[in-house]
């Protein structure tokens, strides 16, 4: 069931009740839960937020809490799995789902009232019709009905004589119809669930709820912006979708900004301006930032000797002395700092980087604090990634959540520093892999299999970044034209003692963000009999036993070649 009027059919049902918010550990979900917390606080709704990492965690958290609470809200999780089947809830428990993962599970979508999806059903164009999928009431009991009818018929045989042949024909016809229908259903289902992709970011949906309740503020809007920027930077949505969305956000920005005094320079301000696809450049040195950003690095092939020369050339052309380019952006000459954007803009065309500019939002408060939405995203990403033996994903979630508050600036800054380390190691890994030619082609896709454990890439976000960088880099140096259209799979061991690997599949470069690996992994596992665990809510990431890797890849090749 879809709930499109969030205010009346979702939020107004909550006051006086306790809500448990079950939240996936990703940036969009974190900012959404932050916005929701503010709304709940306003209405004095008692809530608990429980971060979880995978389907197992979801089930465990639900089982532990199901006796205490009737309302569960799932943020960026649960939409793609049949919740009623998985969790076996009592009848009085209601699930609200706000999930940007697609495709949605049809049992959730067509649930009567227990599972309610926040969102508009009109935006789900690809969803099959109810009749195409469900026919259980007449189809399952078919045979039973037949028997009864048969009995009736035999009783009434005096009135309406039916021969065995007629009965047989009728049953045959019914069976054929059923078979046809099932075939059609399987086709529809396959078409529907073949690709996994992302819908509108949850944070925007929740922000609009706040807006409709007249509870919106610049803070809430900023968090929503972070949510959508994350989707863009990780390639979860296409840039055209992002552009459309930014126009809507701009109107929110101007509406909210008009309320506060124009003259106060220290107040919080959000501005829309053209930004560069250079990671963290305001908090890093220009040179490092250009080197470690996917776009610029791949366009200039900065891991090669030629690339390094080219980078220096670019700096010369921009008129930026090396000494300036090497030091912190903040400490650069004031004039150069101001003109930096124009300098890049002018030279970008010549260096084959026309797409380096994109529209983004910047947050400014006080005299000194100026962050772009991308800075926040990288920082939070690094904070989420700080998983090791002492820190679980859940405590990282809390850190990232705290870094959103403006008075926890040091948390944000430490995140930015960690992000620099992360980006740097991603670049180094890409360089090594490209130089030693670890990327192989299996025909329908490219793959990389790492043999050594690397703690930095053992979590989904870092691995996604690495995969994107690797694929873009490979396409940039590859001679074959075909490589543009190939997806990439990376497999990296995360726990050598238990022989567990993390495997990720990403779609080919280009603007299409639909990913076919979720379903393909599932099929390949069945075919090859490999032990995999599809525990993540992003279905393109799985865990697999190391020894099963070769046969799994083989099965995948066969599957995707056909």
């Amino acid at each position: 069931m879809f709930v499109s009027d969030l205010k009346n059919d979702f939020f107004n049902l909550l006051p006086g009740k306790r809500v448990i918010v079950i939240c996936n550990v990703d940036i969009d979900a974190i900012v959404s839960s932050k916005i929701l917390q503010t709304l709940f606080r306003n209405e004095n709704i008692i809530f608990s937020v429980a971060p979880i990492l995978g389907i197992k965690g979801l089930k465990r958290t639900f089982d532990e809490n199901k006796e205490d609470c009737n309302i569960f809200l799932f943020i960026n999780c649960g939409g793609c799995i049949d919740l009623v089947d998985l969790l076996q809830p009592d009848d009085n428990i209601v699930f609200f789902i706000c999930d940007s993962h697609r495709p949605l599970d049809l049992c959730n979508a067509y649930s009567d009232s227990q599972v309610r999806i926040l969102g508009d059903y009109r935006s789900e164009e690809d969803m099959p019709q109810f009749e195409q999928i469900f026919r259980d009431s007449d189809s399952e009991n078919d045979s039973a009905d037949d028997e009864i009818e048969d009995e009736e018929n035999t009783e009434n045989s005096n009135h309406r004589p039916t021969t065995h042949i007629e009965k047989f024909e009728r049953r045959l016809r019914k069976n054929r119809e059923k078979r046809d229908w099932e075939k059609a259903r399987d086709r529809v289902l396959f078409n529907y669930s073949q690709y996994s992709y992302y819908a509108r970011s949850t944070s925007i949906v929740i922000y609009e709820l706040a807006w409709k309740m007249s509870k919106d503020s610049l803070d809430l809007l900023w968090w929503a912006i972070i949510g959508i920027t994350e989707q863009l930077l990780l390639g979860k949505i296409e840039s055209s979708v992002y552009t459309l969305e930014t126009q809507r956000i701009q109107s929110h920005v101007s509406r909210l900004s008009n309320k506060i005094n124009e003259n106060s320079h220290t107040a919080i301000r959000i501005t829309y301006e053209n930004d560069l696809y250079l990671a963290l450049y305001r908090h890093w040195s220009v040179k490092e930032s250009i080197k470690n950003s996917i776009y610029s690095a791949c366009r200039m092939k900065l891991w090669t000797l030629n690339g390094k020369k080219k980078l220096n050339e670019l700096l010369v052309e921009m008129g930026l002395p090396l000494a300036q380019a090497r030091q912190q952006f903040n400490s650069m000459d004031l004039l150069m700092k101001k003109d930096f954007y124009q300098m890049i803009e002018k030279t970008a065309e010549k260096y084959n980087m026309p797409g380096i500019i994109y529209g983004s939002f910047t947050l400014q408060y006080g005299y000194k604090n100026r962050y772009s939405a991308a800075d926040y995203v990288y920082s939070m990403m690094a904070l989420i990634e700080q998983i090791d033996h002492e820190r679980t994903a859940e405590s990282c979630f809390i850190d990232a959540l705290e870094s959103l508050s403006r008075n926890k600036k040091n948390m944000l800054e430490s995140g930015i520093d960690k992000a620099k380390v992360l980006l740097d190691s991603i670049f180094k890994q890409v360089k090594t892999s490209l130089e030693t030619q670890q990327i192989h082609s299996a025909g329908p896709f490219l793959y990389v299999i790492f043999q050594d454990e690397n703690i930095q890439f053992s979590s989904p976000y870092a691995l996604t970044m690495l995969a994107k960088f690797m694929l873009n880099g490979f396409v940039a140096v590859s001679r074959s034209r075909r490589s543009r259209d190939l997806p990439l799979i990376i497999c990296i061991p995360v726990d050598l003692t238990r022989e567990i690997c993390l495997m990720i599949g990403i779609p080919p470069i280009g603007d299409d963000s639909k990913n076919l690996f979720g379903k393909a992994f599932e099929q390949a596992a069945i075919k090859s009999n490999a032990a995999i665990s599809q525990d993540f809510f992003d279905t393109n990431i799985i865990q697999i036993k190391q020894s099963d890797c070769p046969k799994f890849i083989d099965a995948l090749t066969v599957l995707l070649s056909s």
Binding site: Q37, F40, I45, I46, A50, D68, T392, E394, L401, N407
Partner: protein, 194 residues
């Protein structure tokens, strides 16, 4: 002989941040009293001398010593008074029982004072029909609910309205202030400020 000691005494009291109250510095206090005594004796003699000789050159010294004496006196009183105020604060925040490490820092009269004060306060609070506890909410809370994060697995917490909340490590809860205050003190929950 310049009042430096008395000043240091006060400074010591004020700068103690690592513990609730500084040790009672009886050594310095005695020295200051001695200083006051000496100053008084000398002034007394000078005053007698003046009555005999009418020598006006004695005046500045007498004036100086008098000021010194008064300053020392003031500092000493301030020291004692501020210690009592600190004790009062301790009573309001920590309750009627003084822990051994605080007790160590006090003198016998101070302990006596603390007990008397404590008794007075309790008597006052019980004098109301349903014995108000004035200790809770010294500052009026801004909201009835607060946001807390759970630091360790604690298990279930039953709220006054009968609902139960499962307190698990690394989860965030929004709960009535009164219910979680003692858990915050125990270090199970942590208040998230905004």
């Amino acid at each position: 002989m310049s009042g430096q000691r008395a000043f240091n005494l006060l400074k010591e009291h004020q700068q103690t941040t690592d513990r609730l109250i500084s040790n009672f510095n009886s050594e310095d206090l005695r020295a200051i009293l001695e200083e006051i005594n000496i100053a008084f004796q000398e002034n007394h003699q000078d005053a007698l001398k003046f009555q005999e000789t009418r020598d006006k050159t004695l005046f500045p010294m007498i004036g100086y010593r008098h000021a010194l004496l008064q300053r020392n006196l003031r500092c000493t009183l301030a020291y004692l008074y501020n210690r009592l105020m600190k004790l009062k604060e301790i009573r309001w925040h920590l309750g009627p029982v003084i822990t051994p490490d605080i007790k160590e820092a006090l003198t016998e009269p101070e302990i006596q004072w603390f007990n008397n004060y404590s008794k007075l306060l309790t008597n006052y609070m019980t004098s109301f029909p349903d014995a108000i506890n004035l200790m809770t909410d010294i500052k009026p809370p801004k909201a009835l609910f607060i946001e807390v994060k759970c630091l360790i697995d604690h298990g279930k917490l039953e709220l006054e309205n009968g609902e139960t909340v499962l307190l698990q490590r690394n989860s965030i809860h929004y709960l009535p202030r009164t219910e979680c205050e003692h858990l915050i003190r125990q270090g199970i929950l942590e208040h998230i400020s905004h």
